[in-house]
């Protein structure tokens, strides 16, 4: 698994929780909230789906690490690897 795989997983989750959004031109370095209509409940959905689908825990103090697709990849990759993925 590499960073792109992790980004792809996060994108799949976002696709589910924000089905009206066009994700085709998403800029990886830009904050998700600056590109999409996402509120705090949506970010909690991302955290919940990482937990339910992949057993990944994101402590509240680390929520800012999920700001952009790029930061999601960097922050979550070690967690996925720790799971043996």
């Amino acid at each position: 698994m590499n960073k792109d795989d992790v980004k792809s997983i996060v994108l799949d989750i976002i696709r589910d929780i924000a089905p009206d959004e066009d994700l085709s031109a998403l800029k990886h370095e830009v904050r998700l909230r600056d590109q999409l209509t996402l509120d705090s409940m949506d970010f909690l959905d991302i955290v919940m789906e990482l937990r339910k689908q992949h057993g990944i825990e994101v402590p509240e103090i680390d929520y800012p690490q999920l700001a952009s697709l790029e930061s999601c990849g960097e922050y979550l990759l070690p967690k996925f690897k720790a799971k043996g993925k």
Binding site: I17, D20, M48, R51
Partner: protein, 413 residues
């Protein structure tokens, strides 16, 4: 007491198991077209139920639908459609003067059952319990979702009134308009009850859940072989205005609210009390300044339980003993029991009779129960009355809540 403003209905939005507009609903009632499906109820297998097929994406984004509730979607669809039907210029309406008053039988069962099932897949660890649970299950959810979708900043709340709730929502709205708390009300009743197995199991263990090899024949009020309730979802929401406001904007006035009453049996949690029901009807007539013979159509509440239908018939026989012109019907025979939406939907189904003069029948009566053989009962075939000026709408619920709403054709003295 000062004369209170007259209140009128100027728009209708609805979804019923057999129609997503009043025109479609009415056409199916006149055609004797029931639409009851068989659904798979969690833990319980197949049961007849009334399922609505409106397009929620007509008025909601997919994310709204995902984050909200089924009853929220029903409420938004009906509210939006009511506003369209009313001819109001929604963009110009002062949203701080709009109130939303929706009757509900219950709320929160669906989401709670879903989450209990969800965490059961995770060893009942509550860290998997959704953070959406509280906004989805607060009692004002249905009305609150309407305000968020439509940008309404006036008051909103639901009226918990068991299966008397549809009328209760309308009564609350009429009162708030008379008190000048709002200038426009969106009001009626809604239900998502088919999505909770608890309601099915509760009725089944009470001996009050309908079954039939043909789902369309499962809901059979007044029939000797009726065996209980067909649970359904649905909604009917109206725009209500003060008469002067409606006239000033040249609105199409569908009906005038003539009178109402809500009272309590104070006797039994589930067995209705015909004395209190009769009293409720009489008080509604008194408020409407009508005598029983002034009522042209009685829309019954009868749910097809063995005792409930008989109790209502006792009440009606008492009040309408000498009213040869009065016709009596029932709409649950087509759509099942839409719970919090029942009273509001059943009223809607009858409203077009002000234009066409026709009374739709109660269907599925193959062997009329002699104890339900009340004079004026319209069975299996529509009856033309020539003209219909008044409708009395019964809606009763558990814990002995009774609601009666009387509407009349506008322009009738």
């Amino acid at each position: 007491m000062a004369t209170l403003p007259r209140i009128v209905i100027t728009g209708v939005g609805l979804t019923a198991p057999n129609g997503n507009t009043l025109a479609e609903f009415r056409a199916n009632l006149l055609a004797g077209q029931a639409r009851i499906a068989e659904i798979d109820v969690r833990h319980m297998g197949k049961h007849p139920a009334g399922v609505c097929d409106f397009d929620a994406t007509r008025w909601q984004k997919r994310k709204e639908i995902r984050n909200g509730t089924r009853v929220g979607s029903i409420s938004i669809y009906c509210s939006r459609e009511a506003v369209v039907n009313s001819g109001l210029d929604w963009e110009k309406i002062d949203k701080s003067r709009v109130g939303v008053y929706l009757g509900i039988t219950e709320h929160g069962n669906v989401e709670t059952e879903n989450e209990i099932w969800n965490i059961s897949q995770f060893n009942n660890d509550t860290k998997y319990w959704t953070h959406h649970h509280n906004p989805r299950t607060v009692a004002n959810n249905a009305a609150g979702e309407v305000t968020m979708n439509m940008g309404i900043t006036g008051p909103h709340y639901t009226i918990g009134a068991a299966c008397a709730a549809g009328n209760a929502g309308l009564i609350q709205a009429a009162q708030m308009l008379q008190l000048n708390e709002v200038d426009l009300a969106l009001a009626g009743g809604v239900s998502e009850s088919i999505h909770t197995f608890g309601i099915f199991a509760g009725f089944k263990n009470q001996g009050a859940l309908a079954s039939h090899t043909d789902p369309a024949k499962a809901s059979r009020p007044f029939d000797k072989n009726r065996n209980g309730i067909v649970i359904s979802e649905g909604g009917a929401i109206y725009t209500l205005e003060r008469l002067d406001d409606a006239l000033a904007r040249g609105a199409n006035i569908i009906a005038e609210i003539a009178g109402w009453c809500i009272n309590s049996d104070a006797t039994d949690a589930v067995l209705p009390n015909p004395d209190r029901q009769a009293e409720c009807v009489r008080k509604a007539l008194e408020r409407a300044k009508m005598k029983p013979s002034d009522v042209h159509i009685i829309s019954t509440h009868a749910t097809a339980t063995s005792m409930g239908d008989i109790q209502e018939c006792i009440a009606l026989r008492t009040v309408f003993a000498d009213c040869p012109r009065t016709k009596i019907n029932n709409t649950k025979s087509y759509i099942g029991h839409c719970m919090g939406a029942a009273g509001a939907l059943e009223l809607a189904g009858n409203l077009p009779s002000f234009q066409d003069g026709i009374v739709h029948p109660t269907i599925n009566v193959e062997d009329l129960d002699p104890e339900c053989a009340i004079p004026g009962l319209v069975i299996n075939q529509p009856v033309s009355m020539g003209s219909v000026d008044t409708i009395l709408n019964n809606s009763f619920g558990m814990l002995g809540i009774n609601s009666v709403l009387i509407v009349k054709k506008y322009g009738i003295a």
